[in-house]
C-alpha cells in the first residue's frame, strides 16, 4: 500500500484543435533510469469517441486497461446504442483514482482523456491523487514543465484570432514538444505514437520516430 512505481511511462501530451483532439506519448517503459521496454503503447483507444493516455506505473495502467475494456464490453452488451462519453469516462476515472488514494493504495498513474462527443471536443486530466481538470492543452510529467508553455503560447496566439489550431498545426506543435522533451527529459525516447480523435472516430498512428537536431553541438 502506497508503494513506488516500477516500470513507468513519462509525459503524455494533449491538445485540442478545430475538429477534435490529439494525444501523443512516447513508447518507452522505464525501469528507473533504464529504458527497459522500448515498444510499449501508452495510448489506449477506449471506444470510438475516446482515447486515454497514461504515464506513471505501467502495471497499474494495464490494470486500468482491463477495467476499461471490460466496462466497454459490458456497455456494448446492453445494446442500447449508447457508449461512454469522454466526459463520463473522465468522471469515472476520477472517482476510481480518488478512492484508491483515499485507501492509501493509489494507482500510480497520471492520465489524459481525449475525445469528441456530440460535436464537442474534450480533453481532461486525472492523476493518482484524484485531482482532475479540463483544459484546451494538457501535459503530464515533464511535459507539464516543458511542453505546456509551448502549447499554451500557441493557443494564446490562436485565441487572439478567435480560433483553435488546425489539425496540421496541432500535429506539428505536438511533434515539436515531443522533440523538446526528447532533448531534455532523461526518461524519454524518440519513438512515439499519436492518437487523433475527430467526429469520424479514433486514429492511432505509430510507432513513429523523432529526428533530433544536434547541430548546436558544433557551436561548443
Amino acid at each position: 500500500r502506497a508503494r513506488s512505481p516500477m516500470v513507468t511511462g513519462t509525459s503524455v501530451l494533449g491538445l485540442r484543435f478545430s475538429g477534435g483532439v490529439l494525444l501523443a506519448a512516447d513508447t518507452v517503459g522505464s525501469y528507473g533510469s533504464l529504458a527497459r521496454f522500448r515498444g510499449i503503447s501508452r495510448l489506449l483507444k477506449v471506444n470510438d469517441s475516446t482515447v486515454l493516455g497514461a504515464s506513471g506505473d505501467l502495471a497499474d495502467f494495464q490494470h486500468l486497461r482491463q477495467l476499461l475494456e471490460q466496462m466497454v464490453i459490458d456497455e456494448e452488451l446492453l445494446g442500447d446504442g449508447h457508449s461512454y462519453s469522454p466526459r463520463a469516462l473522465h468522471s469515472w476515472l476520477t472517482r476510481v483514482l480518488y478512492n484508491r488514494r483515499s485507501k492509501i493504495n493509489p494507482l500510480w498513474n497520471t492520465v489524459l482523456i481525449a475525445g469528441v462527443y456530440g460535436g464537442e471536443s474534450f480533453l481532461g486530466y486525472v492523476d493518482m491523487l484524484g485531482v482532475a481538470y479540463e483544459a484546451p492543452s494538457l501535459a503530464t510529467g515533464f511535459g507539464a514543465y516543458l511542453a505546456q508553455p509551448l502549447l499554451r503560447a500557441e493557443l494564446e496566439r490562436d485565441r487572439d484570432r478567435d480560433r483553435l489550431p488546425t489539425r496540421e498545426e496541432a500535429r506539428e506543435l505536438l511533434e515539436r514538444c515531443l522533440r523538446v522533451l526528447y532533448y531534455r527529459d532523461a526518461r524519454s525516447f524518440n519513438r512515439y505514437e499519436v492518437a487523433t480523435v475527430t467526429e469520424k472516430g479514433v486514429e492511432l498512428e505509430g510507432p513513429l520516430t523523432l529526428e533530433a537536431n544536434w547541430d548546436i553541438a558544433h557551436l561548443v
Partner: protein
Amino acid sequence: TTIMAVEFDGGVVIGADSRTTTGAYIANRVTDKLTPVHDRIFCCRSGSAADTQAVADAVAYQLAFHSVELEEPPRVRTAARLFQQSCYRYREELSAGIIPPQPPCAPQVYVVPMGGLLLRQPFAVGGSGSSYIYGFLDATFQPGMSRSQCQEFVARALALAMVRDGSSGGVIRLAAITEEGVE
C-alpha cells in the same frame, strides 16, 4: 541472477545462471532457475528465491487444474497471465521477475518484471546480471535466428553477464523447448 529467453521459429531457448546468494555468500552454486510449470511451459525466476518458488508452485498447480478442466494443454498466455496476476496483486510483498517462455502451438516469450506488468517480447532478459548485457543484446540480437543461433546467443549473453555480475555465476543451464519436447 541472469535469466534469458529467446523465441525462434519452432520453439524457445531459455537459459539461466546457477548462483543463489545470501548477501555475499553463495548459498547454492548449482541452482536450477528454469522451472517447469507445465509440460512445455517453463519459467525463469529472478528475485527472491522464496517468492518466485512460491509463485511458480502456485501457478503450476493452477495450470494443472486448468488443463484438466480444459482437456488440453494450457495456453502460453494463460500461464503468463497467471504469473502476472500473482505478481501484480502481491507486488508489495513480492520481489519477483519472471520470464515464462513456452511453445505449444506457437513459441512465445513473456516477461513479468517487478510491479506485475505483462509483456510479450521476441526475447527477454531479467535478473541483476541483465543490466550488464543490454548493450550486447541490442547490438547482437536479430529476429529470425535459428535454434542453434539462439542457443549460442543466449550462452554468450549469459556468460558475459556472469563474469561481470557478482550475483550471477556458476554454470549456464540452457534448454530448448519445442513441439517435440524439452531438451
